[in-house]
């Protein structure tokens, strides 16, 4: 379970450009929920995600993950509880490292890194097995540089990286926005499958109204730093994408 209590975020405090993004913001996500978030530019979707990941620290309020207060924790410390897939396939992984090394870094998330050799035969077998589930033929390319993969392949590997280790919440930051429609479908399918298989709690930002309703169990609509619609259950099931557009 993840709770955000009375969160306030103000950028450039005390300067002429001071902007308040969140004021007294509250949100509760139960374990196992798959929440999709939609909203226009500047609605605060990314800020919400960065707040949870630790990239942005709130000015006041608290963030609690399964009874662990992480409000003041920096990103790298929260990483053991939170996994994330970024929007830009180029930014979300390490282009100059091999697929295997990338997976290895993800495998060490939340564990202390020692002077033990990073790569090993048993780990390699484990990675190969995980990659083979995706049917993208990447399991034989463990020694290829990540930079050689297409955007879609990189997002697929990024998804595997994000789910190698357990996490309290998986953050998906418009992770299909940079892909072509075919690849987007594939990645979404993979996302859904992984979340179901591992029974993950997830928060996904999307620009697509239909995606927001088709995927997940709950949909949040944001506007100017507030949740203007919180759709779940029966109400959500009966909604269609065009109804959502009407809310804007």
């Amino acid at each position: 379970m993840i709770t955000l209590n009375n969160i306030s975020v103000t950028f450039g405090k005390g300067s002429p450009l001071e902007t308040t993004v969140f004021e007294d913001f509250n949100l509760l996500i139960k374990s196992g929920e798959f929440v999709t978030v939609i909203g226009g530019n500047g609605a605060g979707k990314s800020t919400l995600m960065n707040l949870i990941s630790g990239d942005i620290l709130s000015n006041s309020g608290s963030i609690v993950l399964d009874n662990i207060a992480v409000t003041k924790w920096p990103t790298h410390k929260r990483a053991r509880l939170i996994s994330r897939v970024f929007q830009d396939p180029l930014l979300g992984s390490y282009a100059d490292l091999t697929i295997e090394e990338n997976l290895n870094l993800a495998f060490s998330r939340g564990k202390s890194r020692t002077l033990k050799m990073a790569l090993s035969a048993s780990l390699r077998e484990q990675f190969r097995e995980r990659l083979s589930h995706m049917a993208l033929n990447l399991e034989n390319r463990l020694n290829d540089k990540m930079g050689l993969l297409s955007g879609g392949q990189r997002q697929a590997v990024s998804l595997v990286m994000a789910t190698l280790r357990p996490s309290k919440i998986l953050l998906l930051d418009e992770h299909t926005a940079a892909l072509d429609p075919k690849m987007e479908g594939l990645i979404l399918e993979l996302t859904q499958r992984l979340i179901q298989e591992k029974q993950l709690t997830a928060l996904m930002i999307t620009h697509s109204m239909s995606q927001a309703l088709e995927l997940g169990t709950r949909t949040l609509m944001m506007h100017h730093g507030k949740i203007v619609r919180d759709l779940q259950g029966e109400e959500r099931n009966q909604l269609q994408a065009k109804d959502l557009v009407g809310f804007f």
């Binding site: 790298h76 996994s83 100059d96 870094l105 890194r113 002077l115």
Partner: protein, 293 residues
């Protein structure tokens, strides 16, 4: 170029191979342009020479030099990580301070090692320094490889490749920067300490051009070996250093160019510029933009 000059270039190339490994650690591995090394090389020499003159065992003196260098690197890192001082500036600040520190340590601008025992006085025979340097370089290469190939080392290299995403995999970028800088400057100080013992003196002006020499070696090395294996990359640094020294020796010994010893820094700078331009020029003229991916 005769045999003596060749072996001399080889020896100094091996010694400065340590510097180039140090520069690789900062400029490449953690992607931090660290200028501290111009101060840490003479620091290593100063610490080792001063301790040797005072009768300290050579191994202890050398280890002390490594730690002094590591501390200097740590200070640069601290200025950057804790107080957000620009990396380049943090390095320059530490380097500037080190000039005074080095003078304080030595008590005078230079120290000659005449009858003192050094690391190299334990062996007998011809080309002792050359062979010892060879052994030391192999040892350092192995340790460095082992370190960079470990879980920790992989995270350290990852920091330099993508600092934006690293925290979300639990990597503490500040810590990696500190460790990388300390290790790099420790290596460079080791080179300084070995230089002092091999050549029998430490001098306040030893550091000039250390960084650019190291960088030149790294760049020369990169153009020699493919980059996709960590082993290759590390060995390339040392090979680059040796080749660089040979090229310099060749340039200075050839009659036609009329080059003299004082032209060394000019040649080095021109070499680095050429090495950096070649890939760009090659790209411009030979590679057609790819149409369909």
């Amino acid at each position: 170029m005769n045999m003596i000059q060749f072996l001399g270039a080889l020896e100094i190339g091996l010694l400065y191979g340590l510097v180039s490994l140090g520069v690789y650690l900062t400029f490449r591995a953690i992607n931090f342009p660290d200028l501290t090394v111009d101060g840490t090389f003479p620091l290593g020499a100063a610490v080792a020479a001063t301790l040797l003159v005072n009768g300290v065992h050579p191994i202890l003196a050398t280890i002390a030099a490594i730690f002094a260098g590591g501390l200097a690197g740590f200070i640069t890192g601290y200025l950057h990580v804790r107080w957000n001082i620009l990396g380049l500036l943090a390095g320059i600040l530490t380097m500037t301070a080190l000039y005074s520190v080095n003078l304080r340590i030595m008590g005078r601008p230079n120290i000659a090692l005449l009858s003192e025992l050094t690391l190299f006085s334990y062996f007998k025979g011809s080309h002792v320094v050359l062979w010892s340097m060879f052994g030391i370089i192999i040892g350092v290469l192995y340790l460095l490889y082992r370190f960079l190939a470990s879980q920790f080392g992989l995270a350290l290299r990852a920091t330099g490749i993508n600092p934006r995403v690293s925290p979300s995999y639990g990597i503490n970028i500040g810590l990696m920067t500190l460790i990388g800088l300390a290790a790099s400057n420790g290596l460079v100080a080791l080179a300084g300490a070995l230089f002092a013992q091999a050549h029998g003196f430490a001098d306040i002006s030893l550091g000039t051009g250390t960084l650019i020499t190291g960088l030149a070696s790294v760049i020369v090395g990169e153009s020699l070996l493919p980059k996709h294996r960590l082993w290759f990359v590390l060995i390339a640094c040392v090979l680059g250093s040796i080749l660089y020294r040979l090229a310099i020796a060749l340039a200075l010994n050839s009659q036609f160019a009329g080059l003299q010893a004082q032209d060394l820094n000019l040649i080095t700078a021109v070499l680095v510029v050429i090495a950096m331009l070649v890939p760009k020029i090659r790209q411009k003229f030979t590679l057609k933009p790819r149409q369909n991916l």
